[in-house]
């Protein structure tokens, strides 16, 4: 679907003060690939996503991501980065996904609002549209964020621990959505902890421990995680 969905990393190094979070990561995500990023805590997984999204300064190296320049990149950070007490309804949150259409200075159009409702229905939040995000459970909030991602219609989708603290039913529903994005030819990169899920659903895996330990087909790469 998207010829520009590729992401190339050229020796990406990120430092926070004196601490090196990511060092010399080199490689590429093919357009339409579905990749799991795994590694211990502090291995630089979130930093890698931020580097691709362009929200962290690189000490060395470069990231080539045409989708980012075209604003066709979507990034779902860890929930801690989002202020859930903000007075916003689910419908408003999902409609933000159409930002590319309405931009900073205009309101979402009625057509866009209708699409937002559709997306909310897709993730099973039809009953919750008028609720405040502060009233949602953890799982419902994730669903709402996924609905926003649907609306963003991005070529490259970055997910940081999308299934953390989510019940099984929600995980199954969101994983379905993720597979659908893959079938639609979008590039999906997800930070995950559940290695069984990685094995069954993710064709590619990147194992990080500040450096890249392994990157490629999951069955070949994943053993590096144990080593």
């Amino acid at each position: 679907m998207n010829p520009d969905g590729g992401v190339q990393l050229g020796g990406v190094t990120v430092r926070y003060g004196r601490r090196t979070a990511l060092e010399g990561v080199h490689g590429s995500f093919a357009p339409g690939s579905l990749t799991a990023v795994v590694g211990a805590n502090g291995a630089g997984k979130s930093t890698l996503l931020m580097a691709v999204a362009g929200t962290v300064r690189l000490a060395h190296g470069a990231v080539a991501c045409p989708a980012r320049a075209q604003r066709r990149l979507a990034f779902l950070p860890q929930l801690a980065a989002i202020d859930r007490s903000f007075p916003l309804t689910v419908a408003e949150l999902v409609a933000l996904g159409g930002w590319r259409e309405f931009g900073a200075f205009r309101a979402p159009s009625p057509a866009l609002r209708a699409r937002a409702e559709e997306a909310a229905v897709t993730v099973g939040l039809a009953e919750r549209l008028r609720r405040r995000v502060s009233e949602l459970s953890e799982g419902e909030f994730r669903r709402a964020l996924f609905a926003r991602l649907i609306l963003q219609d991005a070529a490259v989708i970055l997910l940081d621990e999308p299934f953390a603290a989510v019940d099984t039913a929600t995980t199954v529903a969101l994983l379905d959505q993720l597979m659908q994005w893959h079938e639609e030819g979008r590039t999906v990169i997800a930070v995950l902890h559940d290695l069984a899920m990685v094995r069954t659903h993710f064709p590619e895996t990147l194992v990080l421990a500040r450096r890249c330990l392994a990157w490629g087909a999951t069955e070949a790469a994943l053993p590096a995680m144990a080593a």
Partner: protein, 286 residues
């Protein structure tokens, strides 16, 4: 009727300085409702406090240079306020926000300002700079306040969406490619609002009419826009109430206004809490 008239209307009818003070407070309430609510939503109330004090050294220099001239107070206050806003922004960008550094800024700025004023001025000058003189607002100051409030309202109206989204989910705003420095722009608006308030409320109280009505409005868990409207209404109410209290009780006006706003906050906390507990009984919420 006449009792109510002499209690509520006569002070403004008979005294020009009360009218000036009222108009100034109303103009400030319009700007403060918007800026204060966004400040709370962005969890930057400490920054507001710091910037309020950051205005002090510059205003003090202006004061030393030209006496109590509104223009020089404003220019000096703007200069030092913006300088500290830039420094505070740099601190926040270096990773985790450092509250201790922000507090250090505010203590240093306040002390420096007090030293500067005390060096050349009298205790009266010092009290003026610290607590403001809302009853001594002249026409020139009024124009400046009105201009600043207009600029702030227009800017917030134009930038409302990105400012709100950045408070809610900053990574999303960056990912959709909005790379403008909204944080810096917002800090500038806060400094402008504080400088406008400085004449009326002084460096110690200027942040009060900004934060307290907004905090009171937030108790009612409305949407962001409705919260701004309610904060503005609370700001107007506390201004009128505070001015009347200060007139009838022969008390300083700035603190009376801030206290009124504080009382509104307390009442809102209690009333909203009671409402939350009682509303299930009336079945007004599923």
């Amino acid at each position: 009727m006449t009792a109510a008239h002499s209690l509520l209307v006569a002070p403004f009818e008979t005294l020009g300085f009360m009218r000036s003070a009222l108009v100034a407070c109303l103009a400030l309430a319009l700007a403060n409702g918007a800026v204060g609510t966004l400040l709370l939503l962005r969890r930057m109330s400490l920054d507001g406090d710091v910037l309020g004090h950051a205005v002090m050294p510059g205003a003090a220099v202006g004061y030393l240079y030209a006496g109590p001239s509104p223009t020089w107070l404003t220019l000096g206050g703007l200069a030092s306020g913006l300088a500290v806003a830039a420094l505070a922004g740099a601190i926040t960008r270096r990773g985790a926000r450092d509250d201790a550094a922000l507090v250090a800024f505010y203590l240093v700025a306040l002390s420096l300002g007090v030293l500067l004023v005390a060096w050349r001025g009298s205790n009266v000058d010092l009290v003026r700079v610290l607590f403001g003189t809302v009853l001594a607002i002249d026409r020139q100051a009024l124009w400046q306040i009105a201009a600043a409030s207009s600029v702030i309202l227009l800017a917030v109206a134009a930038l409302y969406r990105p400012l709100a989204v950045e408070a809610f989910d900053p990574a999303f705003l960056r990912a959709v490619g909005a790379r403008a420095g909204y944080r810096a722009v917002f800090s500038m608006l806060v400094v402008l609002a504080l400088v406008a308030s400085f004449q009326a409320f002084g460096t110690l109280l200027a942040v009060g009419p900004m934060l307290l009505p907004a905090a009171a409005a937030r108790c009612w868990s409305l949407g962001a826009a409705a919260s701004i409207a309610l904060a503005t209404a609370f700001g107007l109410a506390s201004s009128v109430c505070g001015l009347l209290i200060s007139y009838h009780g022969n008390l300083p006006s700035g603190p009376a206004i801030v206290l009124s706003a504080g009382m509104l906050f307390g009442l809102s906390l209690l009333a909203a809490g009671a409402w939350r507990r009682l509303s299930p009984l009336f079945g007004s919420r599923p």
